[in-house]
């Protein structure tokens, strides 16, 4: 028996991972077992947390959905009696219950997640860690490093999709003897958690990526801008930085190379707009996080007015792999213009929610059906929302679309940072657009007129549409405002804020029209437009619905069909949920 690993990223902890860890620790101690108990990061299968991996001499066994009461049995039967509890194991030599989840994935960014102990630099080193930076320092000139990255075809994984190598080139060519590296870990899209999981599972790969970038552009100082809502990520980064400093990987003269490199963590206060690079820089400088116009680009005038390279977590995490495996290995994956892999956070009405890293070029349907296992409760797949509040909806009919920056942009959505929310037939697309617009409206920095007031007015129009007060001409007004906002905002937040509205109008215009003209919500989701009625034929007069109704809007005699008084009904849906005979209809 060698080791037991517990998945303790935020997803694991949220599912009760710490309880399992403590329980295991107790059992191991009580039973005097010689085994190494380790923490590890997210293994991707968030839907299966808590995950515990037991490694013995011959095999590794992955237990899923571990609860505290299962711990004793696993310890007793598997570890002491050497009889793995097969029914709980999802992966071992013989068992492969979640094969489909992994089959189409290709893990570069997540290569160490769930495998190494993120708080152990030795674990990282033993998995080829810090070899890439040394390789650069020893074998490559700065330009050669940039060339490798250019050749790999890596594009910014934060959503912009700009060539990472070119970005480095601009920063390296910018005049100035003081330059900065910034890692943007201000992951703010609702439903996105790729960067958090990557940092929690493998902080050193990001640090190493930043070092390489620092070497390439001749920067000696770096910041990781990470939101304060990610305490575990911050903790693991701090540990990793400390370990690097202790070993001379960070600080003066790193790896005895004449290169100085220092990394600081800057905790963001959770303003979504601070994910925009100029706002982020302003925030690090201690100012209000407000974007400014580009040019000048950060590559020429960034932090404190000095040339600065900003990439996001996933981009940096790719770098050491590319250096170690060569640009061709990376560029051989993907489509003509989108190379390598992309990590997606699968969320919404999907069976297997979690992290999946897929090669570019895979189709949406493959992600949803093959990796994600399809739609929950067998409902109908309606659309995917990609790219968060800046992105848009791609309808189910376009499920064969390949994951590729340019292909996705053509649909009106964007690749974004990797949030992928799956929607089924019960999602109202107007309501969904409203949700995202409400988010951007609240998160706008309030600087530009169109973004500050324009999105508010759009939101108000959506609010009245979903409340059944939509007017003829509202769709046109929405579109008109949307294009003006896109055309006249300083930063990406404003320029993309109308996307969720525009794509839903583009693909689901009939839903908007149904709300406005027929005062009807086709997905039966907008409360103001719902009507609950009792189907006389089905109602047996059990009175349950009348008992549940909080406003006494249901009346009827026992064993006789009941009736809902429509003007009293507050559309809470309790009757609908409580009826055991499907006798209540929601329209």
């Amino acid at each position: 028996m060698k080791e037991i690993k517990v998945g303790l990223a935020t997803c694991g902890i949220a599912a009760g991972g710490m309880l399992i860890y403590d329980e295991l620790k107790k059992e191991i101690k009580n039973n005097n077992i010689e085994v190494e108990l380790k923490k590890t990061g997210c293994m991707g299968m968030c839907y299966r947390e808590v995950l515990v991996e037991v490694k013995d001499d011959s095999d590794s066994y992955l237990y899923a959905n571990v609860t505290p009461d299962k711990v004793k049995q696993i310890v007793y039967e598997h570890i002491i009696n050497k009889k793995p509890v097969k029914e709980w194991i999802i992966k071992s030599k013989d068992i492969n219950k979640e094969d489909a989840f992994y089959k189409k994935q290709k893990q570069i960014v997540l290569r160490n997640c769930g495998i190494i102990d993120p708080s152990s630099i030795d674990d990282y080193i033993s998995n080829n860690g810090y070899k890439a930076i040394q390789k650069c320092l020893n074998e490559y000139s700065k330009m050669e490093v940039i060339d490798i990255i250019i050749k790999s075809g890596l594009r910014g994984r934060g959503g912009g999709g700009f060539s990472t190598g070119l970005k480095w080139k601009f920063a390296s060519q910018a005049a100035g003897n003081k330059k900065y590296i910034i890692c943007n870990a201000d992951e703010g899209d609702p439903g996105a958690f790729m960067d958090r999981s990557t940092i929690e599972g493998d902080p050193h790969s990001i640090i190493e990526g930043m070092m390489i970038a620092g070497y390439a552009i001749q920067a000696d100082e770096a910041y990781i801008y990470v939101r304060a809502e990610y305490p575990l990520a911050i903790e693991r980064l701090l540990i990793a930085i400390k370990q690097c400093e202790d070993r001379g990987f960070l600080g003066k003269n790193i790896f005895n190379s004449n290169m100085d490199f220092k990394i600081r963590i800057k905790e963001g206060a959770g303003a979504f707009v601070c994910g925009e690079e100029t706002a982020l820089i302003s925030s690090i400088e201690g100012k209000r996080g407000v974007p400014r116009i580009r040019p000048p680009f950060p590559a020429n005038k960034g932090l404190w007015g000095k040339p600065t390279n900003i990439n996001n977590v996933e981009t940096y995490a790719n770098i050491p792999w590319i250096i170690m495996n060569g640009p061709q290995a990376f560029s051989s994956m993907g489509t003509e213009k989108s190379k390598g892999t992309k990590v997606f956070a699968l969320a919404g009405k999907i069976v297997r929610s979690g992290l999946a890293e897929v090669p570019m070029g895979i189709t949406i349907n493959e992600i949803i059906y093959d990796i994600g296992g399809g739609i929950v409760d067998g409902k109908k797949f309606k659309a995917v929302q990609m790219g968060g509040p800046s992105g848009g909806c791609i309808p189910a009919s376009m499920g064969d679309l390949k994951i590729d920056y340019d292909e996705i942009t053509k649909t009106g959505a964007i690749m974004g940072s990797g949030g992928l929310i799956v929607l089924d037939e019960t999602t109202c697309m107007v309501d969904l657009a409203k949700f995202f617009l409400n988010f951007t409206q609240n998160e706008s920095c309030g600087k530009c007129t169109f973004c500050r007031i324009g999105t508010k007015r759009m939101l108000e129009i959506l609010e009245r549409i979903t409340a059944g007060a939509g007017k003829e001409g509202d769709i046109q007004l929405l579109e008109e405002l949307a294009y003006k906002i896109k055309n006249s905002s300083l930063c990406g937040l404003g320029q993309t804020a109308p996307n969720p509205v525009l794509t839903t109008i583009k693909y689901f215009r009939d839903e908007y029209e149904a709300h406005i003209k027929e005062k009807r919500c086709p997905a039966h989701s907008c409360v103001s437009l719902l009507t609950y009625t009792i189907i006389e034929d089905k109602c047996i007069g059990c009175t349950l619905c009348a008992q549940k109704c909080p406003v006494n809007a249901i009346s009827g005699k026992t064993k006789e069909p009941h009736k809902i008084k429509q003007d009293a009904c507050i559309k809470c849906g309790l009757c609908y949920d409580s009826c055991k005979f499907d006798a209540i209809e929601k329209i």
Partner: protein, 1254 residues
Amino acid sequence: MEQIKLTINGKEILTTSEKTILEVVNEHKIDEIPTLCYDERIEPYGSCFLCVVEIEGMNKLVPSCCTPVTNGMVIHTDNERIRSSRKTALELLFSNHYADCIGPCIDNCPSNVDAQGYIALISLGKYKEALELIKKQNPLPLSIGRVCVRDCELACRRDIVDEPVAINNLKRYVADIDAKHKWIPEIKPNKNKNVAVIGGGPSGLTCAYYLTLEGYSVTIFEKLPELGGMLKYGIPEYRLPKKVLNDEIKWIIDLGINVKTNIEMGKDFNINSLFNNGFDAIYIAVGAHKASNMRLKNEDDTKGVLWGIDFLRELPTKTPNLKGTVIVVGGGNTAIDAARTALRCGADTVKIVYRRSIKEMPAHPFEIEAAREEGVEFLFLTLPKTIIRNGNRLSAIECLKMELKDAKPGERPRPVPIENSEFILECSYLIGAIGQQVDTSFNDPENECQLEAWGTIKVDNNTMKTSINGVFAGGDTVTGPYTAISAIAHGKIAAQSIDKYLSTGKIEKQQKPFLSFKHKLSEVSEHELEHIEKIARNKMPELPLEKRTDNFDEVELGYSDGQSASEVLRCMECGCSEYYDCTLRKYADDFNINISDYIGETRQYKVDNRHPFIVLDSNKCINCGRCVRTCSEILEVSALGFINRGFKAVIKPAMERPLLETNCISCGNCIDTCPTGAISENFPFKVLGTLRKENHRSICNFCSIGCNINYKVIDNNIFYVSNSTDEIINSHNMGYSCIKGRFGHRYLMDPDRLEKPIIKTSDKIRKSEWHEAITFTAKHLKTIINKYGPDSIAVFGSPKYSNEELYLIQKLARTGLKTNNISSFSNLLCCPEQDCLDDSLGITVSTTTMDNIDKADIIVVINSDLSDENLIMELKIKAAKKKNTKLILINSSEIKLTKFADLWIDTRRGTNTVLLTGIARELIAKRKTDKHFIQNKTTGFNTLCEMVSTFSPARVCSLTGIDIQKYEQLIELLNNPDDNIVFIYNLDSRKEKAKGDLRAIANLLLLNNRINRDGNGLILLRDFANSIGLSDMGVSPQYLPGYIKFHENNEINRISSFWETDLKKIFKPVNFMEKMLSGRIKGMLIFGEDPLINTDNFKYFKGVEFLLVHDMFYSHTAREANVVLPAAAYIEQEGTYTSCDRRIQKVKQILKPKCGKPNWEIIANLAGHFNKGFEYESAEEIFKEIKQINRFYKNCSINGFWAENIFQKEFFTKNKKANFSIYDIDMTTLSPEKQEILFSENYFKTKIKNKLMI
């Protein structure tokens, strides 16, 4: 920077990179791109998106203010897409601009009378101006002030707090005042065109009035015997006395209007005949005088049945004697008037029968109330059904009870009879007052005016034109029976249309300006106004009830002065003070915006007026951030910042504290940069909203920087400072001011300003006329001269007087009084070292100018607390620092500027001479001096070397108390001879200054020839506006004008002959202090100073037998004076001032002098009693003489510097060389505190600055 080529609107432009598109467009005057968030003085920001332009090849529109030009760019600044985007931006901004452009009172008035404006003018006591303002929209305020339905008051926001402001009562108040001494408007030259006005009611009179003012010949044709229309024939005497109305009509007619009465259109003439008889246009306003019938059987032939309107009309000629019960049918004002009149005609009981309830009554509530008070009974929900007769005499009526049904939103409910509810009302009279109709029988079938279905004349409501060319109509003729103020509005619009029609042949609709109103965006909540103190509305004094019933005396008596004074204070000043200066509103009209699509949630805040001078109204904020950026970038104060995100983002003081509790320095520069009214001045008077203000560029009179400021004048004596005009922004202070420059001038509006001379004799103090006071003064001075000789007289001038005044003051002393006892207390008591550079340079003045500090590599500020004394200098330094200029600050204690200094040398007080001497030693030791210059242009170098040799670093550090490292750093910074260095030193500083400081600085300047090199030199700051002029003009016993010293015989002779006075006898050294202390000064003339504010200074007045004081106020010194002459303020007269860096600037007369004449005239009048040579026509003539007398002013020009590069040719020392100074080290400083001996400074300290204490 590289040369680039680009195309803008098809035009090829050559320019350089590093510019923005907007800069290039403005520079080449290609277009006027609208901007809100752009202020050329601060970094571009790009938030309003008004300045968007299109660049070919780019999908998005880009903000031109912050997009740099690049080579080959093809730019379009105006097309449909751009305009549409700009328009939407404005609409969005306005949809969240919860603010009133003008008072809702003005907007709700059919004639848009500027109620807020006239209330403000009444509050200032400007009754005549208030009346003029009213008459711009309404020529009948005496009448309307009595009978108006007061739509203004319906809209008054004060109603939310307590009750509406009694706007109409205030109007009547000023109109009544004017009735006594009438204002006569100006009439334009005769246009030789004739207009016929048919109907002499309010509408016709109004139209006639405005057309007459425009120069048209107007004839009014009236069917009835007298003019006045419904005002005369429909409104009873007790509401509008005929005398008042007649007076008002007479006032209009007397402007030159022809009147023909008893002549009826349709009978005596018609439209065609008018045109044929030479009339060019016609206005029909014949009213609606025909009573509607009640549709009752027999109503026309029953005795005792009357018509309300006929009843009222005939009243003046035949007052009926009514007895018994009178029943009035109807719910409008005519019904009420008829009922109240019936009471006065002797009726026992008067009942009003109305088919709906009181809520639906169209009559004005206060009229209903008055009727009730007088005893009128009301029967609501009652409808007369049948007339019951006794023969053909009315005996009773049968009525039905009604109920109200089916109230649709916005409509009155329908009254429906209740079955079998009939009842009988006995009565002797029945008066029908259910409405009137227009009698259109005048209409000529051959040339017919089109009518509406309901019988009124059809017009275009925007222009009042009818279907016939050249014929216009208005008033009740168009609306049916309606209000007088609406009739007046029509008359005014018609007059404008007729004027257009007759002058251009076209009638255009006037575009109404876009106006923002709070209530159009959201309901105005009580919460928003909860901080406003509730004050009851002043009740209109009325005739007691018992005195009303048997007569027609006017019931409402009019406000007393006290009532009006307290009522005006109730006005909440809703209309924006920036109405005319608001950029946002201006663009709204330019782009013809419509915000209806975007009305939604608005941000709402309470107005923050906790700061004594600055009002923050976040409701009006458009988040352009100009204030925030000005405060942080220019002033580096950061008192304001953004809070919140998204739609709720807004600008607030730091930490959302009251502004006073932030770093705010109350400079008010945020007010100027704000493009809306979100930041405005907390005026010491009522907000004057829509009143026009005139801009006057002038300069500030506080410190010696000579900032250009813009005075905004509202009707002569009321003004404030607002620096947003282009010419001020382009001046040397870039439109920025300090707290003094912005709010300090308020003292000129103080009611305590002197207007008349005061003579004090042994028994009393009395006001006198000018001539007497001046003769009295001359007589007493002559007596003293005769008794004690001319040397017993001393004359003092103020450092805040103009060059012209100061020149005359010293000329008066030297040529009139024949004494050289001429100085200023400010110099004598506060700044004794007027000559500290004389030995080394020949004159003691700034060697360089403020514009030059831009070129400096290093600025050394010594003994100057700029933040407090010369803020604008500090801003210039901060601006220079942004271009990498280094700042060295030498000051014993920490001041605001310290944190901006690259190096702060914290010497012990008084030891700066030691430090500066030490620096000279190091420069000499390191051989960093300009040998060539020293050899050729200076003397005393060797002596200097000897003197400084003992000031080793160790000794300097031990004496000054600074660390050796700091000292080394300082030497390191200063020892590059090629660096440009500017020294800034406040000559008036007290706490730090020691005697040798400036001599030591002069030595440093000479060591590297920093005298004639650009970007080098010394700026001598002074505390007062014309401290320099004071010396320049020779208000000093040491110099004649132009710094002529005792030894300069040629110059003295030149001036002697000019002045025809032998100066050799007069111009001699004076030991002033000794003379005063020993009581040898018997007669004293003090111009503009208040030395006795400090009682210590009485010691200088020991021997004084006669004291003349010239001041704007009854100052401490004035109280002791035998004669006080009132002074004019600097903005009340012309003159020039010389700034600390020798810039000569002109001050224009902006206001009329309160005391009646300019100061130079007063001085010249007095001087004329002693000598000739004071016969000036203007200040300009005096300046011409100054140019002839003062050698440095010879070739100067206004706004230029006197003698640029003054030392280029020579130094003004005896040997014409610069001399290294040898001085004693005296480490004692002057007395620690300054004496504020100027009234203005003291006023500022006590009445302005003290308000900032929390």
